[in-house]
Point group: C2
Chain length 212, copies 2
Amino acid sequence: MALKKFNAGDFESWERFYRANFFNSAGGFKSLNLIGTRSSTGITNLGLFFSVIHVGANPPFLGVLFRPHTVARHTLENILDTGFFTVNAVQLDMLPQAHQASAKYDKDESEFTAVGLREFYSSDFPVPYVEESRIKLGCRFVEKHEIKANATLLLVGKIEECWVDSEALLEDGFIDHSKVNGITVNGLDTYYTAMLEKRYKYARPGQNVEEK
Amino acid sequence: MALKKFNAGDFESWERFYRANFFNSAGGFKSLNLIGTRSSTGITNLGLFFSVIHVGANPPFLGVLFRPHTVARHTLENILDTGFFTVNAVQLDMLPQAHQASAKYDKDESEFTAVGLREFYSSDFPVPYVEESRIKLGCRFVEKHEIKANATLLLVGKIEECWVDSEALLEDGFIDHSKVNGITVNGLDTYYTAMLEKRYKYARPGQNVEEK
């Protein structure tokens, strides 16, 4: 292998899109989720995110990072206005519609209609899920943190209900997204399916790595 | 498809490991990185993380979420003590060693030696990279946020230098981790390689999704 070294001087010299591609992909593969919300006036919204992270299991929390709120951010505004959002995993058969949901639609137009995905409502939950998604999480907003370095925002949500395809849910609670052709993303626009390599047992010092 | 619904009552009724598997995998595929640090007394350390997120490109920032600091967290302590860390992407040929680095070693034992990965030092950087990793990022700690809901910690680092394999770096700045057999993880212990499905052009309202 031949590694190239780059430093701050290089980063600054790069053209804007080169730099965006580089740093959006540098950290590796990310989750791909559509976040569903509703505005205070009742317009539904979908946004495509690769910044959903695990925050806790008991009670269950997740986080989503948002770019700075200097321009309209419909998903962010709706969450702060209504307190609820849904996280809907993207699978291969809905990938073109999911990518199209990353386009900048006006706030009075619902991405559900614009991209051709259906709204699904759970009786106990006030904002729409994506019908086509096979792993959906209903979340209540709990806290917000502003990253001082660049004004991005981390929102934390408590997971209040989940809808999971039985094909993906294994007997030990593990939701294997690859069983339903779940998508992973690298960078801003490149989408992959995942091929299982290994499932390992819990690692302990002085023991050899063992497959499950 | 047949989706099963689960709510807060279900979450509480589950056995601890079932719940951990469920919520660690619910949000989808994650990046897999080894974080390299050095303690204030000079002991090197490696930890395995799937919580690295993109925070910004100009200047470049990334974030890492850490579990609560209620027990020893060597990586976290070293970053707060020295101000520096490296983020080293995991590829297929180093996966068993990377998984072994998730075992709880004592602070006076270096995971580099224990798991069999080599330290690599850049002349301009004070903490070790993983020699075997083909995409490595050198970061300076900039800020810390405590998630009040469960005392997890988000650390933000500024990327000061990068070492990237030419095979993975495309002409538009995109680092395609799949070109070097980069690993993505779902849940606590399940590892995948990625198979390219689509690279799409920037989406705009009223236009059809187009491949790049």
